[in-house]
Symmetry: C3
Subunit: 260 residues, 3 copies
């Protein structure tokens, strides 16, 4: 595993800038299994950051789409039969073609069925798990703190990206906290799903999943802060964060990132 370039830290703002630059130059294809609530905003967030989204769920073709993608998002937003079938095929195709994927176990705190399904998927090799505090508590049975996510990550050989007022990213050896973001992010549906999709995009251009996940959450958090400068509420915030993802550049990311 690569070490971070800055002394005394597992991740630096420069690392996030490097990932952002690669998103823009490589335009990774990201296939998304997500719910209808989130599809449009997620696709637009991916386009804004420089990635190329696809969203088909059809069993006949999803394997081919995943095979040609550089990253995959599996979001449990709607747990219907069609999406579970699509997920089974997609995860298999991702493994066969070495496409990294991220799991977003939405609402596992609301339904034991979802939690069981999420645990099963975690056994199938996601590179990253993007999750909020209530969901992590439901899934792991423990407190959503640094130690717990590090232990969880180490045990399952994945990266945990825990969102909250301060985001935490852990892979079992390394840990970083990201103190960016804005409260209006919680008032826009699919914001978390879009963040997870950007994790998938970053996994497509950065082999180190810890760094990719931390870069993604830093990018989204800084874009949220930029959006808050002009937003007059959650409607204009959702619009402004797409503009911010598009307009975000290295110097701005560098100067605004609060990565520790």
């Amino acid at each position: 595993m690569q070490k971070s370039r800055t002394t005394g830290r597992d991740m630096s703002a420069q690392d996030a800038v490097a990932v952002l630059d690669r998103l823009r130059t490589r335009a990774p294809r990201v296939h998304c299994i997500t719910n209808a609530v989130a599809q449009n905003f997620t696709a637009n967030a991916l386009l804004a950051i420089g990635a190329v989204p696809s969203m088909t769920l059809a069993a006949e073709e999803i394997g081919a789409f995943v095979a040609r993608a550089q990253g995959l998002l599996v979001n449990l937003g709607t747990l219907d039969r069609e999406r579970r079938d699509a997920t089974a095929i997609a995860v298999q195709s991702a493994a066969a073609h070495h496409v990294p994927w991220v799991l977003d176990p939405v609402f596992v705190d609301r339904s034991e069925l979802r939690a069981a399904y999420a645990r099963d998927l975690i056994g199938q090799g996601p590179r990253a798990l993007r999750i909020n505090r209530a969901e992590f508590a439901a899934l792991s049975g423990g407190e959503p703190d640094s130690l717990a996510i590090s232990t969880y990550a180490r045990g399952r050989n994945l990266v945990v990206g825990l969102s909250g007022e301060t985001d935490l990213v852990a892979d079992g050896e390394r840990l970083v906290s990201i103190a960016n973001g804005h409260p209006l992010m919680a008032k826009v549906t699919a914001m978390g799903c879009a963040a997870s999709a950007i994790v998938a995009a970053c996994l497509g251009v950065e082999d180190d999943a810890f760094r990719a996940t931390a870069a993604a959450l830093t990018i989204v958090g800084v874009a949220g802060e930029m959006a808050s400068e002009t937003a007059r509420g959650p409607g204009s915030f959702a619009v402004a964060i797409l503009d911010a993802l598009h307009n975000l550049d290295g110097p701005r990311l560098m100067s605004h990132a609060k990565v520790n």
Copy 2:
């Protein structure tokens, strides 16, 4: 049934303010069965007004989501098998757990199949029916006027919220007209569905379904007027009404409501 607090009226602006305050403090969970066209905007409208949306349609889990919700929306926007199965389970769960629900019988004027299905659902105990004039005419076979909706509401033991240039709300004993709103509301898809979802949110914090429905339509109408102040067309209007739902407070609602 409670009587309105203001003399000579069945509903006052103060009643709407009281409901708005409770939306903000209680953050009711609202489960929505709606079509993919409407899901994102509806979820964002609920978040903006202070409610917590969920949208899953999966037969395996929708009963559990409804059981934990404070309000349920059933919207007929897409009449597929999945949604009809979900609706049957959701309505049963709502009855078992005393969760109030609102029916939005979209496009019953376009398809006799939908009208028959809507009539069947109306027999299963919705607390409110939010409907436009063409849909009411198709469903009831009569004119969409005060007398007809009062008679219809009384006969079916529900509240009718009839949207139009002036909204009318009736429960068979009481009647109120709400002269808020803006023509651009008709140029944004899912605006009616979002209004119905806000009715469901209000039902979750106000036991009197008449007052809840009237409060919801007043809130949406006033938010529409606020949005029109900055909107430059239907695109920016859809954004601005989400901001307005978020920013709406008691004094503004009080001074703008045209409730009679």
Copy 3:
């Protein structure tokens, strides 16, 4: 077939203005088979230009919706069983009731299954094919240039609307290029689908499918330029183009159209 009114050209800006006027006065109903990513934006684009969208996919009712529509869009954005069944019924209903339809063969360059399905649909009588360069190359096996699309259109008795930096429209006898539009259009998901839906709306008010297709692409391109005047990125661009479609009038269309 009607001849264009301006000398030496197959299509003029005046033709587009005439189609726009008819959209506003006739408010054509447009039924759309499209994916969940695109449904909301497509519906809002149709409302903004003056048309009336419907989107149901249910096998039991889609035939009735198409029968009462003036135009139909078939978009291959998600190739699931439900949409293929819906498409079979819709295309049959369109033929029976003389409802013109447009095919948008999304992502045929990504999946041979889609390409085969699209070819089958092209044999069933669409009046227009709206397609980008990569998709046309995949479908036809040839270069996406004027000659190729003219030959393709003539052989299949339809109009090809090829989008790109400059759009080209051909019916085998006539050809027009439209040099409107803006790069941000490629950064908003469902922009192409919305354009195709507006082609369907124009087919509903203009019998000459060549002129209808060219008018639609001119309207969308000019609206895109208007949107770019205020947009600060893809988020605000998507909002602004809906405003622009709503605010576009004859004089503005006339003065901005770059039709040759």
